[in-house]
Symmetry: C2
Subunit: 364 residues, 2 copies
DNA sequence: TTGAAAGCGCTAACAC
DNA sequence: GTGTTAGCGCTTTCAA
């Protein structure tokens, strides 16, 4: 029944005895084709095993019907970092090598990605996932930008000028980043507010006064959290906070420094971390320093990833609505398809305090 | 500097004072262009903010540079099913509503997908994720098939005739399905062998003789597991096994029936499940029947998902190398790009027994 | 080394 | 309601 080449509209048309326009209409605007004709076309298509070529379609109508998410090498990075941190902590312990490692998956980005996927299906879009590594340069993100109607990127993942160029072509949203005047759309969460609430909990409910902030504040998100932390200290009259602790020399060096710090008699009463992953590393350091959480000090995270929940003790943290974040990203993109340089939109989602046990509460 | 339309090769060419062919060559075969010319083109491209149109490229050279993974509505389905089963079991318990639910994510498919992603990046391909729901019909999968150079699908996700049609156009691999004569590539694991090993463990190490198999055997995978189970019983001289237990009326009905069955005095000594998710549901039923695992009976799973590891007690199971599976899928696809009707390839990956506590062992 | 030109498969005016 | 036809932006012979 079939030729050797993959069938096109022309093949279907000639087999059905109609023009290619009619074939096209049959698929795009069925109601404009007489039922009998439509049936004939469909029959021919099915007999030939016709599969429309999306490239051709995209070229012709200027839309691809897909949204893009640039994943960078977060996944690979994450795996390395976590291993480096020696995160064998966590109540679940480590199974044999090839068992799933909750400290690696799912992470924050994975949950956001899931939200993006779900919402894409719902809005009738396909999702183009692109992944780069540090070595792949800008070609990958540009490449995926060339194949979608809208693109989502995580911050610090793509050079600003590259993003700007892409934003001139399709809508771009920067996930999880405070609005800034870069012509991109932004979807983020209330980092500062969440951190204030968490810090307040530590101060009011647990009477802690000497708190240390741990984690790099190199991203806008982390900076906002640090800001919220300090603001709340100030509000409580605890102005003279220790400087934020972070070690650039890598996870191992940071761990050592942390252990050293915690072993001193003037160790803080609580450690407030920029992320759950940071907190899990701290939990590890605390254990290595021969101390117990929350007995000897409180430790808190930020994000609400699974690893924090199965950590030992379970991490008190601030939960980000990651799936919602992902869904919101898609909504913004879909709303702006075809209008690349439209007025940038900013959405901020609320966060929620998740009281577990690492702060000293007796909850779960 | 810029016009209002997104720049094309023509714009770049005219700005650089060359032909479009030279622009194209500059990107595709830089070595064939004189350095000075190349530099001029690159400069023009960058000034204009040129982003190549992937649709046009795909149309012209017949390749999209992307691989596809059709996800169906596994994710949505899973969420529903699990909730329906009332799987509030598991040691981690349930946090507030918007916390992550380990019984929902990551599941088997999520881990495989992750392997697919990782390997796609590595091989220089983008990944097109398509998701359908029962209502979306075949259009979605056909649509994504039309935009990629190779497609991976989970079994029972796409009607055979649709798959066959697609396979005539691009290579298709059916993930996690025993080879069958359908012209598709297959990547699967040693389901029967893994289940035999697990069953043997129960019989030899724990002296169990009255084992019940729980779970639908409607998929080839599950069928292979059931086969392995029975084979091992037979080998141990325990031929008269109970019939496999599964309830079509939905998770709730199955739970009720299970509780009823377990409450009887002639309850089995062990329940061998087709999947971890099944096992977690059984754990739940056991608890509701007022019994304790493994004291009153053993329960085992299959897959090795995270939820089983943080279940209470931790699930003894057979771990599938899911990430590897995903990577293998990509490799097969990449190897066959451009050769849709090539000889089908079959790959079977080994599995590994994961002894935890639900079988009665004292391990972790 | 570079340019001219012929498509790739489909969509959407526009004409009939 | 259906057919004709002009592109969509890029790749790739083939000539120059």
């Amino acid at each position: 029944v079939s030729a050797d080449k993959t069938p096109t509209v022309y093949d279907v048309a000639s087999r059905a005895g109609v023009s290619i326009a009619t074939v096209s209409f049959t698929f795009r605007r069925p109601e404009r084709v007489r039922p009998a004709t439509r049936a004939a076309v469909l029959a021919a298509a099915s007999e030939l095993g016709y599969v429309p070529n999306a490239s051709a379609r995209g070229l012709a109508d200027g839309r691809t019907g897909a949204l893009g998410l640039y994943a960078y090498d977060f996944l690979l990075d994450a795996a390395e970092n976590v291993n480096g941190a020696g995160a064998t902590n966590g109540g679940a312990g480590g199974d044999a090598a090839d068992d799933i490692d909750a400290a690696t998956f799912p992470l924050y980005v994975d949950e956001v990605q899931r939200g993006v996927e779900l919402q894409c299906w719902q809005r009738g879009y396909a999702l183009m996932l692109g992944g780069g590594s540090r070595t792949s340069g800008d070609t990958v993100v540009t490449d995926i930008a060339g194949r979608v109607d809208g693109l989502a990127v995580f911050p610090q993942t793509v050079p600003p000028d590259v993003l700007d160029r892409i934003a001139g072509r399709i809508p771009v949203v920067e996930v999880s980043h405070a609005p800034r005047d870069d012509g991109l759309h932004h979807v983020t969460v209330d980092n500062a507010g969440g951190m204030r609430e968490l810090t307040r909990h530590l101060i009011r409910e647990h009477g802690l006064r000497d708190l240390l902030f741990v984690g790099a504040v190199d991203s806008a998100d982390a900076a906002a959290r640090h800001r919220g932390f300090r603001a709340e200290l100030r509000a409580a009259g605890l102005g003279r906070a220790r400087p934020a602790f972070a070690h650039e020399e890598g996870a191992r060096a940071q761990a050592r420094a942390l252990i050293e710090l915690l072993s001193r008699s003037d160790r803080p009463e609580g450690v407030v971390c920029a992320t759950d992953l940071d907190a899990i590393a701290v939990l590890d350091a605390v254990a290595q320093a021969g101390l117990k959480v929350p007995r000897d000090l409180a430790v808190t995270g930020f994000d609400g990833i699974l690893a924090g929940r199965i950590a030992n003790p379970p991490l008190t943290t601030v939960r980000q609505p990651m799936e919602q974040l992902g869904r919101a990203v898609v909504d913004v993109l879909v709303e702006h398809v075809g209008r690349p340089r439209a007025e940038p939109v900013s959405i901020q989602l609320p966060v929620r305090l998740l009281i577990r046990r690492s702060c000293g509460c007796s909850g779960r």
